[in-house]
Amino acid sequence: MDRFIGHGLTCIRGERLVFSGLGFTLESGGALVLTGPNGSGKSSLLRLMAGLLAPAAGTLTWNGEAVASDREAHGGRLHYVGHLDAVKPVLSVMENVAFWANLRPGGGPAAAEAALAVFGIEHLAGVPGRFLSAGQRRRVNLARILAAPAPLWLLDEPTTALDRAAVATLEAAIASHRQAGGMVAAATHTPLSLGSAQTLDLGAFETEVAA
């Protein structure tokens, strides 16, 4: 049973205080949906959770241990899907996914192949990234997170450019990830149906401008 807890988090981007005093608790099997208007800090919170951004105040702990104390370990237990798909135009779909899978424990070519199949892009395995549509690139990026296991998924607008069927596939993937004891935090403004998810409205933590 893993526990990922954020406490009293404050985020400053540039000179703007994005949010302050924010807390959350995620446990194995749990899901956290981030909502709020543009600029309320959904992406910032996900980057904070990933460790890409350091909180200006507050702590993030994984099973009681501060995330900041061991960045590599934290990186190893999470998958982050940001706004950019990290698909290299000159590498084939398979090479793209396999590279990221190989960097992590438990990932490999076989897992990469299975992940492509889940998102219905196995027929594109040999196609270089530059020929892909936006939706296909997004599916390659999502296949990446299936290709190596990690307990925590951080998804920033994962449904961008996806069609109905692909969204359903993603929902199913998230459901089975949670069933296996994984946890998910996702920012989205299109409805993504995640059973029994907590919702965190970042609009509530919006604060006055800081100098």
Binding site: S20, E208, V209, A210, A211
Partner: protein
Amino acid sequence: MENLSQLLEMGGYARFVWPSFGLTLAVLVGLLVVSRRALKGAEAELAALQSAIPGRLQPADTADEA
């Protein structure tokens, strides 16, 4: 008078000594003027903004830490 011309001549080195002192003073005064003007400009902008924004007189950013 003789002293003054002697001073100005600088033992024949006038064209090296006086530019050195002159340039140093010019740069230091110039830097000071530019810095002061920037400060006055910023302060004027802040004052204009504060009067343009209705409501609180004292902006939140000068308040003490939370």
